[in-house]
């Protein structure tokens, strides 16, 4: 008389020898699931990218000749929560950047005595001329604010990454 085979055994007819084969197949399925998740992550970033760019109203940030060479002024642009800095550099005149450090979003400050933009959180340093990172952990340059002169006023008109 044949022994009675339990139903679970019929549904899972693998012994120890075949156990590893099943484990690898399962692993491949999970790997495929992870692959799908990574693909979806890339697609989400691609979809969100166009929404990232915010348009903002032009905003007067200073008057012409108000800042002397080497001086800076802090303001908010494009939104009331977005900190920015306007610097009158000796070499290039007025430039403006977002104050948000591209490393971990701390606020960078302009240090006139060393002519640099400095992030106190992790000692990141940016060039005030270009906004490029020159020391510390940041890898990307500071977002630049486009300035425009209208009459006697300097306006912030756009934010470029």
């Amino acid at each position: 008389m044949d022994p009675v085979i339990p139903s679970w055994r019929r549904q899972f007819p693998y012994g120890l020898e075949a156990d590893e084969v099943v484990a690898r197949r399962e692993f491949l399925r999970y790997a495929l699931l992870s692959s799908g998740a990574l693909f979806i992550g890339s697609v989400v970033l691609a979809v969100l990218a166009p929404l990232q760019r915010r348009s903002a109203e032009p905003k007067a940030v200073a008057r012409v000749n108000e800042l002397r060479a080497g001086e800076a002024r802090y303001f908010h642009y494009p939104g009331p929560q977005d900190e920015a800095v306007l610097i009158n550099t000796r070499e290039r005149g007025l430039v403006a950047y977002s104050q948000k450090c591209t490393h971990l979003s701390c606020s960078v400050v302009y240090q006139a005595e060393r002519d640099r933009l400095f992030c106190p959180c992790h000692d990141g340093v940016f060039s005030p001329l270009t906004g490029d990172p020159v020391a510390g952990p940041p890898q990307r340059r500071l977002p630049r604010i486009v300035l425009e002169q209208r009459g006697d006023d300097i306006y912030a008109v756009d934010l470029t990454p």
């Binding site: 055994r9 007819p13 693998y14 012994g15 120890l16 020898e17 075949a18 156990d19 084969v21 690898r24 197949r25 692993f27 491949l28 399925r29 790997a31 495929l32 992870s34 692959s35 799908g36 990574l38 693909f39 992550g41 890339s42 697609v43 970033l45 691609a46 969100l48 990218a49 166009p50 990232q52 760019r53 591209t102 890898q139 990307r140 977002p143 470029t160 990454p161």
Partner: protein, 91 residues
């Protein structure tokens, strides 16, 4: 005192009921695993590059990376489908 030998599943070994790995399948699965891990690493790297581009405001370039990532995913899907057909249907 030792009892009867038991497997990890709590069952004694029953060679008649166990499925023997067909010749060549081991190597095929191992190759699939190695390539799969490599492709996953590549996808992870693509995602980090995408995130870097996204944060740098160059999101328009992310689509090409997402496309490559999608190709890898579809390749994995096809490979797993071929593997899951089993040795019987391939014979």
């Amino acid at each position: 005192m030792t009892g009867p030998a038991r497997s990890r599943t709590g069952l004694g070994r029953d060679p008649e009921r166990e499925i023997a790995t067909p010749p060549g399948l081991q190597a095929l699965l191992l190759a699939a695993l190695a390539i799969g891990i490599l492709m996953l690493s590549l996808q992870l790297w693509l995602l980090t590059v995408s995130l870097d581009l996204f944060l740098a405001g160059r999101g328009g370039e992310v689509w090409s990376l997402a496309f490559v990532s999608g190709l890898i995913f579809i390749g994995g899907l096809v490979a797993l489908r071929l593997l899951s057909r089993g040795p019987q249907s391939r014979a």
